[in-house]
């Protein structure tokens, strides 16, 4: 069990599993008082992310923190504990015909807290934004064991600094997430996906993204399927109308559309999850629409999935020799989500620290002066 919970290759001394948020805070307090190093782990589905921690006395497993604190379907907000699995959340929301439009590889295991800490996203970010755009409140346990809140339960709120956003993508280096309030959305009446056999940088995709008659809810390039998948969601008439319009647009580019059923769509999404935990190189390059066309990537790369409006996810075999050179020269938009064991600790997952790293270091120091939370796992050794 503890092997499965190794964090970027580092096995913790022990695993602690608080039963509730009060125990979570008291465990952190005790560890901090003893000067122990620790990491927070939810479903453990993204533990390859980041650099190996310099020390790891304990892992705090949050999966028992899976309660619903407040669900107001008529207000489209939900407050849940951090350890709630996304699949369980989906089931709960489905009872009210709602959903959390955040794409996460392994919904059965991944938790809400983990999705926030790793800033998980996928194809639906095109319409709904990332978790940064959906989080409205947070409860954290600081590295000293103090519980603090930011944001709130309402969808609009400018009172105080935006701690929820600060925690998104912070990988547990500023403290642990105890609970969060998220905006949820009505489940569209109809959702249909179509595959256009075209390149991610092709004229058809650009035309589609520029066409006011089309508002896809998700856009992804799946090379394994040989094209770009656009998902349309809404009323039946609107979805049918948009797909007909897109088909006509595709025809003018000499491309044909192919409808993807639920299983075919799931296969597209599963391709990305399959490479996790395999020991391969895996990285994301954040980009924008036009810039995607000029990205320099190593030749042997397999493109797993591309999000033409914000980034690509790529992978390469663990023994691919071209990757070492690529890793040394890549720009700041590329982050390694997983590294082969042979380079772990020598290749920095995050690359050169960003220009504002000095502020990040000060933040880390102010929140965690003893350097106990996931030390060294984050950007620039934070």
């Amino acid at each position: 069990m503890s092997d499965r919970l190794s964090v970027a290759g580092v096995t913790p001394g022990r695993v602690l599993a608080p039963a509730d948020r009060i125990e979570l805070a008291s465990i952190v307090r005790d560890l901090a008082a003893g000067g122990r190093t620790f990491a927070f782990v939810g479903g453990g589905t993204d533990l390859e992310l980041g650099n190996p921690p310099r020390a790891l006395d304990a892992v705090i497993r949050t999966t028992a923190l899976d309660r619903v604190i407040d669900y107001a379907p008529e207000d489209q907000t939900i407050t849940v504990e951090a350890g709630m699995r996304l699949a369980a959340l989906d089931t709960l929301l489905a009872q009210h015909e709602q959903l959390l439009p955040i794409d996460v590889g392994d919904r059965q295991n991944a938790t809400v807290g983990g999705a926030i800490a790793t800033n998980a996203f996928g194809a639906r970010r095109h319409r709904y934004g990332s978790i940064k755009d959906l989080i409205v409140g947070i409860e954290i346990v600081r590295p000293d064991g103090v519980t603090a809140h930011g944001g709130g339960k309402v969808v609009k709120n400018v009172a105080g600094f935006d701690l929820p956003k600060l925690m998104v993508g912070s990988l547990g280096t500023l403290g642990g997430i105890a609970s969060a309030t998220l905006r949820v959305f009505p489940k569209p009446a109809v959702t249909r996906a179509v595959l256009a056999r075209t390149a991610a940088d092709g004229a058809l995709l650009r035309a589609a993204l520029d066409d006011p008659s089309l508002e896809p809810s998700a856009v992804a390039h799946h090379p394994a399927q040989g094209g770009v998948v656009l998902t349309f969601a809404g009323s039946a008439a609107s979805v049918d109308g948009q797909i007909a319009h897109f088909a006509a647009l595709a025809a003018t580019h000499g491309d044909a559309l192919e409808e993807l059923d639920r299983d075919a769509l799931r296969r597209c999404e599963a391709a990305e999850a399959a490479v996790r935990g395999s020991g391969a190189w895996r990285w994301t390059t954040s980009t924008s629409i036009a810039r995607a066309q000029t990205l320099a990537q190593p030749a042997a790369t397999a493109l797993e999935v591309g999000y033409p409006t914000f980034g690509v996810v790529l992978a390469s075999a663990a023994d691919d020799p071209s990757l070492d050179a690529f890793a040394a020269q890549r720009d700041s938009a590329t982050v390694f989500r997983a590294l082969p064991a042979r380079v772990r600790g020598t290749v920095d997952a995050w690359g050169e620290p960003p220009p504002a790293w000095r502020i990040m270091r000060a933040l880390k120091h102010n929140f965690d002066p003893q350097g106990l939370c996931n030390p060294g796992r984050f950007v620039g050794g934070l």
């Binding site: 008529e74 400018v158 009172a159 009505p186 924008s288 990040m360």
Partner: protein, 489 residues
């Protein structure tokens, strides 16, 4: 000008920004004594109007060297005293930083200086079919830099999100005068590390001063349908809003006006809204044409089921714009029905609109004051306007007390003391009612990472014993607001 001789620092600031753009004469400083919250006034020591990042940085360095507090200022339209000067400090105004630096349509982004007026972005983009989504009612005069500081909202933020959802990156001058880029400035969608951009947006000028901003731009929707519906009272209108939201309809905007607000808007703008109704809703639905038609139909059904008296659509684009102009000028219109008014800004869960409006009406009734409501109903962002007459002894204090109690009603319903106007000086004392000491101490850890000495915008946002003895003055509309040129909320 006598101050030139008496203030040795004037020459040093003037050497950075030019003599014309360093202001220290008492008569000229008067303009900068306050922002849109006119009840508080502090005369700054010097105001500087730099034109470039380098000039801002040099001014900050000089101020830092002399331990002068710094207050950043955009157009000064803020309603919470965020741009209220600090005693003996400098104000850095962005009025000369009005350049649009880059319009990148293929990547859907735009880089601007902070002094650019909000509406100017959409004007520039309109010929290309794009626009900038956040639309505070003051958008014809407020600046993007001020929007970043306040995380400004607006009617159409219901569907499209607030400033924080549309700012991708920024160049920021820190308290020591150093310049750094935060967020995704170089064309990427994300930047590794902590989301500093997410924290800087809405930080009310306490973390630094942004000198370049990269915003996301959106393609204009294919279709927009506007509906105006009247109701017997705010109960039915509130129920209609709750029904629309809980039904899974996401309009671009739903705004509510109660009877008093309608009366004021009609008097001020001449829009032909009926006066014998208890409340009205103004709603925009936008998107793909087919979806818009169906959504508008569904919303009308829910409005009727909730008790709508009449639902109408504007006859043409001119009438649609007039309706929205009426809504955006609503605060100023209050001058037609009351000598003075206190603008409040609070948030509640959307399901509670009808009951909270009743509680607010009761507060007004108990105090013997009228309260008008005109607000962003779709996201539960209330703007109660407490009407009073400052010439009547004691009424002003009573109005303030009622406005304060309204915030406590919002908090009791699980809401927030501000949805878009910010905390600033005005609500610092209420922040302690919304957050615990530990919450506030944690926010101060963030501040100390950016500005360890607290040189930027001191005495704002965080409650202190000194501040919380202060009492705000009456709300006085700004000249451009009285003229109807720009609105509030």
């Amino acid at each position: 000008m006598p101050t030139l001789a008496t203030d040795p620092l004037h020459a040093r600031f003037a050497a950075i920004v030019g003599e014309r753009h360093a202001i220290s004469s008492p008569s000229e400083l008067r303009t900068y004594e306050c922002d849109g919250l006119l009840g508080y006034r502090i005369r700054p020591r010097i105001v500087v109007l730099p034109a470039t990042t380098e000039e801002v940085a040099a001014c900050v360095r000089l101020a830092h060297e002399h331990r002068l507090p710094i207050v950043p200022r955009g157009a000064g339209t803020g309603l919470s005293g965020g741009a209220l000067p600090a005693e003996g400090g400098i104000v850095i105004g962005t009025a000369r930083m009005t350049r649009i630096l880059d319009v990148d349509l293929p990547n859907r982004r735009m880089r601007v200086q902070p002094g650019v007026i909000n509406l100017e972005l959409s004007k520039q983009l309109a010929p290309h079919g794009y626009y900038y989504a956040p639309d505070p009612s003051s958008q014809s005069v407020c600046t993007i830099g001020g929007n970043v500081a306040e995380n400004s909202g607006g009617a159409h933020c219901l569907k499209y999100g607030f400033t924080v959802n549309h700012v991708l990156g920024a160049r920021i001058v820190l308290a020591d005068g150093s310049v750094v880029d935060i967020g995704a400035c170089d064309g990427a969608a994300d930047a590794p590390g902590y989301d500093l951009m997410g924290v800087v947006v809405g930080s009310e000028g306490l973390l630094g001063i942004v000198t370049e901003i990269v915003v996301r731009i959106l393609r204009k929707p294919q279709a927009t349908r506007t509906l105006f519906a009247t109701f017997p009272s705010t109960d039915e209108a509130g129920t209609a809003v709750s029904a629309i939201i809980s039904h899974g309809i996401l309009p671009a905007a739903i705004e509510m006006c109660d009877q008093l607000a309608i009366e004021a808007i009609v008097a001020a703008t001449g829009v032909d809204w009926p006066l014998d109704v208890g409340a009205a809703l103004l709603m925009d639905v936008d998107g793909v044409a087919l979806e818009v038609e169906q959504t508008a139909e569904a919303a009308q059904g829910l409005m009727r089921a909730s008790g709508a008296i009449e639902i109408r659509a504007p006859r043409d684009e001119a009438e649609r714009l007039l309706m929205w102009k009426g809504r955006k000028a609503a605060f100023a219109a209050m001058g037609r029905i009351s000598p003075n008014y206190h603008v409040q800004d609070g948030v509640i869960p959307r399901k509670d609109i009808a009951v909270v409006l009743r509680e607010i009406a009761q507060l007004g009734h108990d105090a013997g004051l009228r309260i008008a409501n005109v607000f962003h109903a779709g996201d539960g962002n209330l703007h109660p306007l407490v009407l009073y007459d400052a010439r009547v002894p004691g009424e002003e204090a009573k109005a303030e007390a009622v406005a304060g109690e309204i915030l406590r009603v919002c908090l009791r319903h699980g809401g927030s003391v501000t949805g878009e106007h910010g905390v600033g000086r005005d609500k610092a004392c209420y922040l302690g009612e919304q957050f615990t000491e530990d919450d506030l101490a944690t926010m101060k850890l963030v501040r100390a990472a950016f500005d360890p000495d607290g040189i930027f915008n001191p005495d704002k946002l965080f409650p202190t014993p000194r501040l919380c003895g202060d009492r705000p003055g009456p709300y006085v509309p700004h000249a451009i607001e009285r003229s109807g040129e720009a609105g509030r909320g």
